[in-house]
Amino acid sequence: MEMERQETYDIMAVCLLAGKIMLQSGAETYRVEDTMMRIAASFGAHQSHPYVTPTGILFSVEGNEPTKTKLIRIIERTTDLEKVASVNGISRKISAGEYTIEEAYKELKKISESGSPYSLWVHVLAAAISSGCFLIMFQGSWGDFFPAFVTGGLGFLSLLYFHQLVPIKFFSEFSASLLIGLQALFFVSTGIGGELDKIIIGSVMPLVPGLLITNAVRDLMAGHLISGLAKGADAFLTAFAIGAGIAVTFSFF
């Protein structure tokens, strides 16, 4: 009896860790729930009920003994697709019976402690390049490529910097977009850049909550109403922060 109880708790620990990593890395709600149920089922807990929201996971397992329930809180959310893919791979291996409970826990722990596969400068460079490319995609001229490149790169760098300084998302996004607006204004007023609108739109793209908006609507359609609304609110707040930052720039001239 005691053994069985301990094992159920171990299964729950593995499921919750997997769910936590996935949710923090930006996986869809249904994928998190599905993965947790699959892992639980392949370890022998056939009746499990995950309840996933963007800010916390509730998980209960039914068995012969009274139902056990655990709750974990999710505070930080980023987008880290590598981790989503790795947890997915581990969940496949668990389903195939390749891992014991301890091994699975150790592997998941390794993933949760691993850092980003790219360095900070690669991130900034990627943001800069994508800003320049978006400018061209939105029918900007090649002459504005360089201003958008610089503005987008510095804007993204300042987002990361401000986020480290004050861990409030709204503040860092507001400051970053304010800086982007000022830089674009500088480039246009010195004659290096041509179209202010295009430069700003291109450089703001790395900050735009595109993934959140789409995930929010998908969650709503899939019936995860609370997750959908929460993600929608998150996306709205980000969009508002960006808009407000740019708006302050416009009030300067």
């Binding site: 987008t79 697709l81 490319c133 061209i136 993204f156 789409t214």
Partner: protein
Amino acid sequence: MTIIEQLITSFIASAAFVIIFNGPKRSLFHCGLVGMVGWIFYFLLEANGVDMVLATVIAAFSIAIASQYFAKKYKTPVIIYSVAGIIPLVPGGIAYNAMRNFVQNDYNLAINLAAKAFMISGSIAIGLVFSEVINQIIRKSKLKTIVNKSQ
């Protein structure tokens, strides 16, 4: 010429976005391809006078098909590919213009643009969900034929 320019920039922009989102290195190239397919569909349709919302639905649908193909082939979650594809379609420009008009006290135009941005983000989701539904229907109908044969 414009099309080649658009193909190259959309490929690079999508792949760069996957780096920002910490995507796996081995899928960067495929993500770029997915983004390119989606954007070229959208770009050509819009250039030929198709409504923006419809063009977005079709582009999102093609993105979802390409992502599901890669996801199945390389056994990775669909979201990695579909995120890369969606990013160029996100109505960042319209949302920006809406915000700008709000600030300049032109509320009528701003509400118009905001509604449009909402419609487009909704149609991205519809395109994705629609392709998922079709995928499930195909899978289920295949299962049925297998069951029928074995009986």
